[in-house]
């Protein structure tokens, strides 16, 4: 039996039409049965590397490849993608686009069918794979009726049914809520214990990769460093400099003067080290922090958006919202969180009249949205959709950003001023003539935000603004949003990223099954860990760590400021 699963030698790749190579000479050897995580900035070449494992590169994509990739002795140059598929399974980030069938069972059967596996064996593999990911009860359902987490589990099951020896997953959990994410990583953990499978996973979220054997850090088409998970995660500065979020716990201990090799990583390790060092959090300082926060929030007194008994039933009879009462104050920065399908996006779409309540009412500036309509409310409440590609259609950034101003027949001079102002706000000054379609995802996201900002709305709603961006891009975008908030805009954002909530939100609404399940300041909400779990959410490790110490501190910096 062979010891090496993957052998990559001086792999270089440039997509056709691109000036810069996506991979600039990668050497990497992955052992059989190993669990390795690929991390790094956007456009670092991680997805390209994954696509080269089963021969999508060089066979499917067009471009220039140099170097060798061998998987279990098969050189990708000599085998077709379909032949490589027999040993390498690939799971993609976009769980909608990788499901073909109208029924869960047939979806799992598709791969083995292509390899002419006998029918009885396929039936056995369907049972086995669905049981593995916990979808047995859904075998006759249509994939389109499954939740996001279930769809991704199905995608994994359908690849497992081909019995791959190497399983590669390209950001499998990006669009999932924390508990569904956790579910996927439990499956990978289980798989890891099956000694015959080699796991290669691209992941952005640092907390999820603790179980991996090794981490390979990429930046700009190069392999920056590869090493045991512990070593890489303890290297807080290295991670941050390559757009990967360092864990809060080691960050805190580093600031307290710990040596790199001694940095604790998990909540348990953190607690032990904290107690061993005999540190203490000062109750007075903590209370002062909470008091300052309460005082700042007490200044916000002018209700801008109000919901009274808001209920929404979709035409197909599904009741997505079941009696929501809330009041969002002018100047607040509010996060709406909840499981996939809990109703949070439906709720947000009521704030700018895209959806109308089927019962109850929504007031913006004291007037029902039904009386105002989308066109009028659009000037008060701007809405940035999750996927910037759902709105960008112009050839230049200027045309895109000026779209809603043109519709509102504003004078050309004012349009120019406002576009300039909006582009400055999102950090794209001087990019008026750029082609939005050729920008990166984070660039397009910024164009989308600018095009909404140009209308100078009082309220800005952002649906999953940080999805698909790397850590530096996420920070850059959220810092910009916070700045807008400081300048007076009211911000409402829907998100799955709990660290974004911890660091940026002032107030949080937790939605579960169409109802408000928890609400309060971010600190209050994150102190109720058990209740959050019921809503399929989990505070970041660092907040869990501070909760165990008896105080809810949202960031390492906050804790540092409260040390006795």
């Amino acid at each position: 039996m062979q010891e090496l699963a993957v052998e990559i030698q001086d792999l270089r790749y440039r997509y056709r039409g691109e000036k810069v190579p996506a991979l600039k000479g990668i050497d990497l050897v992955i052992n059989r049965g190993e669990f390795i995580v690929l991390m790094g900035a956007s456009e670092a070449g991680k997805s390209t590397l994954v696509a080269s494992l089963n021969g999508l590169i060089p066979h499917y994509h067009r471009g220039r490849m140099k170097g060798e990739v061998q998987v279990l002795g098969r050189n990708t140059k000599d085998f077709t993608v379909a032949q490589m598929a027999e040993i390498v399974g690939l799971v993609f980030q976009d769980f909608e686009a990788q499901l073909f069938s109208t029924n869960v069972e047939l979806e799992v059967a598709f791969g083995p069918e292509n390899f002419a596996v006998p029918r009885e064996e396929i039936a056995r593999r369907i049972d086995e794979s669905l049981a593995y990911v916990g979808l047995e009860a859904f075998r006759h359902r249509s994939p389109s009726t499954l939740s996001g987490g279930q769809k991704q589990k199905l995608a994994i099951a359908s690849v497992l049914a081909m019995h791959p020896q190497v399983l590669a997953m390209d950001e499998p959990t990006t669009d999932l809520d924390p508990i569904s994410k956790y579910g996927i990583f439990q499956i990978t953990d289980q798989l890891r214990k099956r000694d015959d499978i080699t796991l290669i996973v691209v992941e952005h979220e640092t907390e999820e990769v603790l179980h991996a054997d090794r981490i390979a850090l990429f930046d700009n088409g190069e392999l920056v460093k590869v090493g045991p998970t512990r070593d890489i995660l303890q290297d807080v500065d290295l991670l941050a400099s390559h757009s990967v979020m360092p864990l809060g716990i080691p960050r805190f201990f580093k600031s307290m003067g710990f040596e790199k090799a001694d940095l604790p990583l998990t909540v348990e390790e953190g607690l032990q080290a904290f107690q061993k060092a005999q540190w203490r959090i000062s109750t007075e300082k903590y209370e002062a922090l909470v008091a300052r926060e309460q005082e700042a929030l007490a200044h916000l007194q002018e209700p801008l958006i109000q919901c009274h008994g808001l209920t929404h039933t979709y035409p197909n009879g599904v009741q997505a919202l079941k009696g929501i009462d809330l009041e969002i104050m002018k100047g607040d920065m509010v996060a709406i969180v909840g499981q996939n399908g809990s109703g949070k996006t439906t709720l947000a779409k009521h704030f700018n009249a895209l959806l109308m309540p089927t019962e109850g009412e929504v007031l913006v500036h004291g007037e029902p949205t039904e009386k105002q309509g989308v066109f009028k409310i659009g000037q008060t409440v701007g809405y940035v959709f999750q996927n910037p590609d759902h709105q960008i259609f112009s050839e230049t950034v200027f045309d895109e950003v000026s779209f809603s101003l043109r519709i509102r027949k504003m004078p050309e001079k004012e349009i120019k001023e406002r576009v300039e102002e909006a582009l400055v706000a999102v950090g794209l000054e001087g990019m008026e003539d750029a082609d939005p379609f050729s920008m990166t995802k984070s660039g397009r996201q910024r164009v989308a935000v600018a095009s909404v900002l140009a209308a100078r709305p009082e309220v800005l709603i952002l649906d999953e603004p940080t999805t698909g961006l790397d850590y530096s891009e996420q920070r850059g975008l959220m810092d910009m949003v916070r700045k807008l908030n400081e300048e007076g805009s009211t911000i409402i954002f829907v998100t799955h990223h709990m660290w974004v909530v911890a660091e940026y939100a002032r107030r949080v609404y937790v939605i579960k099954d169409g109802r408000i399940f928890l609400q309060g300041t971010t600190r209050e909400v994150f102190s109720h860990e058990d209740a959050l779990k019921e809503a399929f959410l989990r505070p970041p490790h660092f907040v869990q760590f501070s909760n165990r110490l008896g105080k809810t501190l949202l960031t390492p910096e906050e804790m540092l400021s409260c040390m006795a």
């Binding site: 029918r119 396929i122 369907i126 959709f385």
Partner: protein, 260 residues
């Protein structure tokens, strides 16, 4: 969003072999298209509606009610323009042309209903498998089922995109025809781009699942002709042959109708 028409029930019609359902659909078309007179279409119409009832597919007809209603009005009026008759009633409508319009409207509606019966009771994969068993190459069949699958996905993204643009102030309802057409650009370009992106991933996922790895392929789904399939095919065959025969004998036409 529910844009799929397939109904996951287990009725007699659902259990039929897809080949049987395809042939019955063909029979219905032959039996209906021959006749000019609506009365002669009635027996087959009743059979098709019986099929709908057995398949419990009324809900899908209800979902298509606006389309069906529009087609009815449209077709009832327009067909009068294309034929003439000996007994004028009013304007361009004669007794004969009216009867003919009713027949053509019935043809359109009944074929849609027969199609809805087929799609409501047959999974995409079964339909394709049925076609493959009739000799269609697998790749062509798969392409067909993929394009069927793209319809609801594209409809969903169009809906999201329309919301995104409306929230930026796009108003599709005002302006003259040319202006309205121009307003569709902000919708169509993103639909186009996102569809291209997702079909690209779709293509990669397809290859990664070993599509076309072997010249032969297993079909997990099995279709089997049971007694009821044969009984229906023979009965349907007899009815269709009878219909054709009666038509050749000259029944079912409208005397005094002139087609241009």
């Amino acid at each position: 969003m529910e844009t799929e028409l397939y109904l996951d029930y287990n009725t007699v019609i659902h259990r039929l072999d897809p080949r049987t359902k395809l042939i019955l659909f063909l029979y219905a078309f032959i039996g209906l298209v021959l006749y000019e007179h609506p009365l002669w279409m009635l027996p087959i119409a009743i059979l098709i509606l019986l099929q709908t009832a057995l398949a419990r597919a009324w809900i899908n007809l209800w979902r298509l009610r606006y389309l069906l209603f529009l087609l009815t009005v449209w077709s009832l009026v327009l067909w009068n323009l294309f034929v003439a008759g000996d007994t004028p009633l009013f304007l361009f409508v004669s007794k004969e042309s009216l009867l003919f319009s009713i027949a053509r409207t019935m043809l359109v509606l009944l074929m849609i209903i027969a199609g809805v019966n087929l799609i409501s009771t047959t999974r995409n994969e079964e339909l394709v498998l049925g076609l493959i068993k009739f000799g269609l190459p697998y790749r062509v069949g798969f392409a067909l089922s993929t394009s069927l699958r793209l319809v609801p996905t594209t409809a969903d993204s169009l809906q999201t995109i329309a919301q995104a643009q409306r929230s930026r102030g796009l108003d599709l309802e005002s302006g003259n025809v040319l202006e309205r057409l121009r307003k569709w650009l902000p919708l169509l370009i993103p639909v186009f781009i996102t569809t291209i992106r997702s079909t690209n991933i779709f293509g990669m996922a397809l290859e990664s699942k070993g599509f076309g790895a072997r010249p032969d392929r297993t079909f997990y789904l099995q279709t089997e002709m049971h007694t009821i399939d044969w009984v229906l095919l023979i009965l349907g065959g007899i009815i269709t042959v009878t219909a054709v025969y009666l038509n050749i004998l000259g029944y079912g036409s409208i005397p005094g109708l002139h087609r241009f």
